[in-house]
């Protein structure tokens, strides 16, 4: 209310001068004084008021409601905190932390000591916090100070990334476990054989030796799988640049993968000729692994069909279809994980290393392709690999490329061999 009183000095002087003049011109002094007084007072009264700053009916700044509206649908969980109290929590924050956090102390929402230390500071900052909602999750908590007592807290999930690094440690642990199991049984049998040779008859010794042989073979498979996995992984980011005749390659690799005694179960069909940019060895391994899986997990003597067609997107599409028990849907997302087994005992019995599909996945990724696994329990499983086609600039290069890849065989008949086309 107290404004500094600014006197209109100029006006008051004029009034005073006029009053003196009036007095001098013979009018009685009291009149002159009265005139001066009235004049001065009117000057003071009619002094222009300071323009009143009216509160704007439509404020320029954001109201609380518009602020809520602004962050409400943001994808990442956001909290607006005023003096450690949660003022606003947007929809995804409420979904993450629970409806109760609004109005509560921010420590109720985020109780990790590192986050609390962050809240106590009054600057920008961030902290990595574990166990925000579930025990093992990882979040990055960022605090953006608005002024000295309000701040925006942003929560970003880092669980997936930490999963990756955990998966890496798991891998080492799993790999050593997988290597140890055959080793310990080899050592056990060898010890028995060498320590008590007199107690063991011929037949038992043979059985032991067979087991040792089988386990050693498994170990060998495992080591070679591990090596190819690490090789594929190392090259994961450089795409192969040699054109490969897929028809020829698939047919040959399927035959190799099946082996002599299972090859009559495998059928290969192709609709058209396909060429992709690829690494011959790796693509062969891909086909071998898929065929081996299909034969192993298909019902005994059931056929396995390999079908090479063009996908809707113009890619070369290879389907490997078996007729087996199929895979439960909950296992499907994990199938390409290393050492993941839906039925550990059975997989080991059939000599599986648990790495086959992991290798396939990496090979497909390196070829910029896509891998899909569909399965119906009781019906069978279809594995689909799609790889972008390579179209040679000139038609002549076609044969050239084919020759390049078919190093040992010149029989260019795509549907030859033991597998007649079943149409």
């Amino acid at each position: 209310m107290h404004k500094p009183l600014v006197l209109p000095w100029a006006g008051l002087m004029i009034a005073a001068a006029s009053a003196i003049l009036i007095a001098l011109s013979g009018i009685p002094v009291p009149y002159a004084l009265a005139i001066w007084l009235v004049w001065s007072l009117t000057l003071l009264i009619s002094q222009p008021h300071e323009p009143i700053v009216e509160s704007d009916p439509r404020p320029e700044g954001l109201s609380r409601e518009s602020l809520i509206g602004m962050i409400e649908n943001a994808h990442s969980p956001l909290l607006l905190v005023d003096r450690k109290r949660v003022l606003i929590a947007n929809a995804s924050a409420r979904a993450l932390l629970g409806e109760h956090v609004v109005g509560q102390d921010v420590r109720v929402a985020i109780r990790h000591p590192r986050a609390i230390a962050l809240m106590d500071s009054d600057t920008h900052g961030e902290a990595i916090v574990t166990g925000l909602v579930r025990r093992k999750d990882v979040y990055r908590v960022s605090r953006y100070a608005i002024d000295d007592h309000t701040a925006v807290i942003e929560l970003i999930s880092k669980t997936a990334e930490s999963d990756v690094s955990r998966a890496h440690t798991d891998f080492v642990a799993n790999a050593s476990h997988e290597l140890r199991t055959p080793l310990s049984s080899i050592i056990g049998y060898v010890e028995t054989l060498s320590e008590h040779p007199e107690d063991i008859d011929e037949a038992t010794a043979r059985k032991f030796l067979d087991t040792i042989h089988r386990e050693a073979q498994r170990l060998q498979n495992l080591v070679s799988d591990l090596m190819s996995l690490s090789r594929v992984e190392a090259e994961k980011h450089d795409r192969p640049d040699a054109p490969v005749d897929l028809n020829h390659l698939v047919e040959r690799a399927a035959r190799e993968g099946a082996g002599a005694n299972r090859s009559e179960r495998v059928t290969f069909e192709a609709e058209g000729q396909f060429e992709v940019l690829g690494d011959t060895q790796q693509l062969e391994q891909l086909v071998r692994n898929l065929v081996d899986n299909a034969l192993k997990y298909g019902r005994p003597d059931s056929p396995v069909v390999l079908r090479l067609t063009e996908s809707a997107l113009g890619e070369a599409k290879l389907e490997v279809v078996d007729q087996g028990e199929g895979i439960e849907p909950e296992h499907l997302p994990h199938l390409t994980r290393r050492f993941y087994r839906t039925d550990p005992g059975r997989s080991r019995m059939s000599g599986g290393t648990g790495l086959g599909l992991a290798i396939v996945k990496h090979i497909v990724e390196r070829h910029h392709g896509r891998l899909d696994i569909e399965s119906e329990v009781g019906q069978g499983t279809t594995v689909t690999v799609r790889i972008p086609q390579y179209h040679a600039p000139g038609a002549t290069e076609d044969t050239q490329a084919a020759e390049e890849t078919s190093s040992d065989r010149v029989t260019q008949v795509p549907q030859s061999g033991e597998a007649p086309p079943a149409t």
């Binding site: 509560q104 109720v108 109780r111």
Partner: protein, 223 residues
């Protein structure tokens, strides 16, 4: 929205009290996770830090005590407000105990010899996971005032007890077979005991959470 009191300062006090409790909970939780981590990896530096950090928990407990007494003295809370304050007072004590057990586990880290080849060590993580899960859940239940989750925590204490019994038997037979490792195995026995106690304390907190939220105690059907 939460119901507000006419006296705004009272609201602020209660909010602060709950904030302090969860802050304590966060500290205890991290201490427990850290202690187990230190134990499994044999990280004595981490173990020392956990022992040192326990002091913060003690300070916070005193702060909670003061604030709770102040609220009772100045505001004379009634009904659910009174329950809230009483529960906070009790929970603070129990959470502080959980921190103490974590500290105790951390203290034993240096006293287990031949860690990498010490087999019984592999028994503990699963049990510890279970107890840590309980502590985590009970704090979440407190934050959300969720009696259902509190009940769940109470129910899972049985699993921790079963774990403890099996680990106990295992360690005892290990000691019989390998007398040389008795001192290490005995340390682990205490660690297992501590974890079991942490489970019990998580149950206590769960009972208080249930009490604060509903006004009655969950039926004590075990013990």
């Amino acid at each position: 929205m939460i119901s507000e009191h006419t006296v705004k300062a009272f609201d602020e006090d209660i909010t602060r009290l709950r904030g302090l409790i969860t802050e304590m909970g966060g500290l205890a939780e991290t201490a427990l996770e850290g202690a187990l981590d230190a134990l499994i990896r044999g990280d004595e530096v981490l173990a020392e830090r956990i022992v040192a950090d326990d002091r913060k928990l003690d300070t916070l407990e005193i702060e909670v005590d003061r604030l709770a007494v102040k609220i009772i003295a100045l505001r004379a809370p009634m009904a659910d407000d009174l329950r809230e304050v009483i529960a906070a007072l009790k929970i603070a004590g129990v959470v502080e105990r959980i921190g103490d057990y974590a500290k105790n586990i951390a203290k034993r880290v240096g006293q287990i010899e031949g860690r990498t080849r010490f087999e019984p060590l592999t028994l503990l993580p699963a049990m510890a996971d279970l107890a840590a899960e309980m502590v985590h859940d009970v704090l979440t239940a407190y934050a959300a005032r969720d009696p259902a989750l509190a009940r769940e925590v109470i129910a899972s204490d049985k699993k921790v007890d079963a774990f403890y019994n099996s680990i106990f038997r295992n360690l005892v037979s290990h000691m019989v077979e390998n007398p040389a490792t008795i001192s290490s195995a005995a340390q682990l026995l205490f660690v297992a005991r501590n974890i079991e106690r942490i489970g019990d304390h998580a149950t206590n907190v769960a009972e208080m959470v249930y009490f604060a939220a509903t006004g009655s105690y969950p039926l004590d059907d075990d013990s």
